[in-house]
């Protein structure tokens, strides 16, 4: 038995210690907002926050999250940064197919929470781990700046 704190709620789970959080969330807790993309931490679709840090849930065992705060896309809108990121995503119509966007938003929210006025290099550093095959990258960059209140000229 392991107890996880998922989006502020304690969840008692009978799963193997080495089970990645991704499958725990999706298959055991039926929280499907967090996506499977590569299984190797290469694409970022599975990004969640553990104690506020962006983390690839496909390569993070549940045992590593015991006693820590797990935040997923389903609850990121309750954080100030997440709320601003989601609003900017809506305003600029960032998503296309949308499959990678949970991970994009989790990475972007962590960036904004840690850096109020991210520049282009900050955005590259924070977002380069998140692949989007629809190529929404220009809008992702613009939406992060919008959420931060950063104008292009400032970066």
């Amino acid at each position: 038995m392991i107890t996880l704190n998922v989006n502020g709620k304690p969840r008692n789970l009978d799963v193997p210690d080495d089970m990645p959080l991704l499958w725990t969330l999706r298959d055991v807790l039926a929280m499907t907002g967090t996506k499977f993309g590569c299984g190797m931490g290469l694409c970022g679709a599975c990004t969640i926050h553990i104690d506020g840090q962006p983390t690839r849930s496909c390569i993070t065992p549940v045992s590593a999250a015991a006693g820590k705060r797990i935040t997923t896309i389903e609850a990121i809108g309750a954080t100030p940064a997440g709320k601003r990121i989601q609003a900017a995503w809506l305003a600029l119509d960032v998503p296309q197919c949308g499959y990678c966007q949970s991970g994009q938003i989790m990475s972007a929210s962590a960036l904004l929470a840690s850096k109020a006025k991210p520049g282009n290099q900050d955005i590259d550093n924070a977002m380069a781990g998140n692949i989007c095959r629809c190529g929404t990258y220009p809008r992702i960059r613009a939406a992060i700046k919008r959420a931060a209140g950063v104008k292009d000229a400032e970066v």
Partner: protein
């Protein structure tokens, strides 16, 4: 002289002029009240609504209005990012006079009513959504509006011409009376369907042509949007599948005991060429597969490599092919020309690498089979499962979902077939997932193409004749042989046989050569992407040979293509074409006429002293005729450009020892945010028939990029991907 002109691909845009050719309208009173407006063939009541599976009736229609005034649109196309779940509702809402933000959307089930008239099957693909639905959906909206207005006029005993529809209501202008659509739906459903309804003139559009927020964004920013892989059913099991790593290999052994010893593993399902591990969650299934350590017999392709395939293509390309276009005697003209210029172009196998890996959830029951999947072809998928299982059409129920990327991959039903084969041996529902490695190693690939092209020029470099032989796999021959005309696969020669430049003699022919054991299929831009790369690269070579500016060279050969000239000229203006750049930088230009649209792009690159190519700017100009949702057109151009750059810079599936060498995003590299150039998209206003926008952005950017590399380095890229080829010249 024989001229066999091949029009672009599989579609006939002139069908837009006679939209009623295939369709007729039906209207019935919906069960439970309201108006059910059908557009298409008679209802098959057993077809179920895919979103609300408990619904008491089956929509056979594009449009439903209930007594409460709730308006529901059933989408004939599936949303995979291209924006149809906004642009198609805009078309209906424009004529129906409802607030498009308040309508409910449903995925269409497999049914003849939703057949795409441009391709003849129920398909989202080939950039046809707007082209095929621009008139039919407006007609559906207008017809419903006329019936609702008529119902209101009858109730008020007034002349219908004194009433108008606005914002989901009918208004009687002289008295100011109003009735909502819900209150009129029953009565409207009892009226005869008008034979003819007037559609708005484009100048009267209120919605169409104005940027509109996507209707599907909210669920895609909070994790609530449901893709096929998000299906969750009571008692559902999870499975992973492993197919023989070598194409055509067989399963010879599995350690069942070790697999079943993994906690959570419930079953090992063996096939001739694959094994699936079923478990209570995906992690257990993955662990079980590792423990099962399947053993394979490599089979007939055990020694196959890319080099062998390219050799076969090269040899096949020495034979004459089926003639797709012949203007004059190109061979004689080239033989008699002052000089002959020739080149070979090669384009590799490509995977799709959709962000949502292939997956399918199936529940075999006593009375049939339920399938939860995201597919571009619900009808073909249903047919494949009927053939596999012997079940009737009514018993194979496809519940379509949003697609986490399509790009052609989900035009195939292979994954659904495998999932059903697995589910046939499992009690209860099972979700089958392809790991990323399995998804890449058992994709169906964009085929390798080998093009020989030559031109004859006079002493001044003026182009006299052109001969182009295309050699590669025929997707059409497998997918729908009926599309082959006069021995020509229209996809194989698309963008080539109809190359737009006018000069002297032209010959284009095609040789079919299949790669042994390797499944091939559609990939974004299909034949247009392959043809445009060769034609636009070679035209650039000819311009360089003639020492003429590549833009001016093209313009001079496009006298009869004013829309093409216009997009090229705007792209040149916006990009500062002709202005000097520092050493190691260059601009390339390309034109793509495809899918009914005209696209020109200028790519600017820098090539560092290690030969690393970095695209820094892209200017894209598109004339796609009437624009429905302009922001979606911009988004699709951005998308197509990024997709095409990934392929042209890095994309390559290679075969060694009979298997795909690439496994995941580590060795199948795609663009990341830090790789993306600044992209500037301009739209040309036009009242021409709408063109497709999902694909030409991809088709255009590859030659624009390689032409820019030439401008920067003098190195002509004739084989994709670019990879490290610029290193030689740098």
């Amino acid at each position: 002289m024989r001229r066999c002109e091949v029009k672009t691909t599989l579609i006939e845009t002139q069908d837009l002029a006679s939209p009623s050719r295939r369709y007729f309208l039906t209207a019935t009173s919906a069960i439970g009240g309201g108006l059910l407006l059908g557009l298409g063939l008679p209802a098959r009541p057993e077809v179920r609504d895919t979103l609300t599976t408990d619904a008491p009736f089956a929509p056979n229609a594009f449009l439903r209005i209930d007594r409460a005034g709730k308006v529901t649109f059933v989408m004939p196309m599936i949303e995979m990012g291209e924006g149809t779940y906004t642009s198609l509702p805009m078309l209906i809402a424009e004529e129906l006079e409802v607030d498009v933000d308040k309508v409910a959307l449903e995925h269409s089930p497999p049914a003849d009513a939703y057949i795409n008239p441009l391709v003849g099957v129920q398909m989202t693909g080939a950039s046809t959504a707007i082209r095929s639905m621009y008139v039919p959906l407006r007609r559906a909206g207008a017809t419903a509006r006329v019936m609702l207005v008529t119902a209101a006029a009858q109730r008020w005993k007034v002349d219908p011409s004194s009433c108008r529809a606005e914002n989901g209501m009918v208004v009687h202008a002289p008295t100011g009376r109003k009735l909502g659509y819900g209150a009129l739906a029953d009565a409207a459903g009892k009226l005869p369907v008008p034979d003819k309804v007037a559609l708005k003139e484009p100048g009267d559009f209120k919605l169409v042509g104005t940027p509109h927020r996507r209707l599907d964004t909210a669920g895609k920013v909070d994790g609530s949007a449901k893709f096929g892989i998000d299906t969750r059913l009571p008692g559902m099991k999870f499975a992973v599948v492993a197919q023989s790593p070598t194409f055509g290999g067989k399963l010879v052994g599995v350690d069942q005991a070790k697999a079943k010893a993994v906690s959570g593993v419930t079953q090992v399902v063996r096939f001739d060429d694959a094994v699936a591990i079923v478990a209570t969650h995906t992690w257990a299934a993955k662990q079980g597969l590792a423990a099962a350590a399947p053993q394979w017999n490599a089979g007939p392709n055990a020694n196959l490599s890319t080099v062998d395939i390219v050799d076969q293509l090269a040899r096949a390309s020495e034979k004459p092919g089926a003639v797709a276009r012949q203007d004059g005697d190109a061979a004689a003209a080239i033989a008699g020309a002052a000089r002959k210029i020739e080149a070979v172009y090669e384009q590799p196998f490509l995977a799709h690498a959709t962000m949502e890996p292939m997956n399918c959830t199936v529940h075999m029951t006593k009375d049939g089979c339920d399938i939860w999947v995201g597919t571009q072809v619900p009808g073909l998928t249903q047919a494949a499962i009927m053939k596999l299982t012997g079940l009737s059409r009514e018993q194979v129920r496809i519940h379509n979902h949003l697609l986490g990327g399509g790009f052609g991959r989900r035009l195939e039903s292979d994954g659904t077939v495998r999932a059903v084969q697995i589910a046939q041996q499992v009690q209860g529902p099972v979700q089958v997932i392809w790991t990323r490695e399995e998804d890449i190693q058992h994709d169906m690939y964009r085929p390798y193409y080998y093009d020989r092209i030559s031109a004859g020029v006079d002493a001044h470099g003026k182009l006299l004749a052109w001969s182009h032989r295309i050699t590669g796999s025929s997707i059409v021959a497998r997918y729908n042989p009926a599309w082959i005309k006069d021995g020509i696969d229209p996809d194989a020669v698309d963008g080539s046989a109809d190359q737009p430049y006018e000069f002297g003699a032209v010959q284009v022919d095609w040789v079919r050569q299949e790669p042994p054991g390797i499944p091939t299929t559609w990939w974004r831009g299909v034949g247009v992407t392959r043809g445009t790369f060769v034609v636009e690269s070679f035209v650039d070579e000819l311009a360089a040979d003639a020492k003429v500016d590549p833009l001016a060279y093209r313009i001079a050969l496009l006298d009869k293509k004013p829309r093409a000239k216009t997009v090229l000229q705007i792209a040149a203006e916006r990009s500062g074409w002709g202005k000097p750049l520092p050493a190691g930088q260059g601009r390339g230009i390309a034109l793509c006429i495809g899918f009914g649209s005209f696209v020109a792009q200028v790519v600017q690159v820098s090539v560092d002293n290690q030969g690393v190519v970095k695209p820094t700017r892209v200017w894209c100009v598109v004339d796609c005729g009437v624009q429905v949702n302009p922001d979606t057109i911009r988004a699709q151009m951005e998308s197509g450009i990024v997709f095409g750059l990934s392929a042209a810079l890095y994309g390559e599936i290679t075969i060694k020892d009979g298997r795909v060498e690439q496994t995941n995003f580590g060795d199948y590299r795609v663009l990341r945010i830090n790789d993306v150039p600044q992209i500037d998209v301009s739209l040309v206003k036009s009242l021409a028939a709408p063109g497709g926008i999902g694909e030409p952005g991809t088709s255009c950017v590859m030659p624009a990029l390689t032409n820019a590399v030439y401008a920067a380095t003098g190195k002509r890229i004739r084989k994709l991907p670019i990879a490290n080829q610029a290193r030689v010249a740098a």
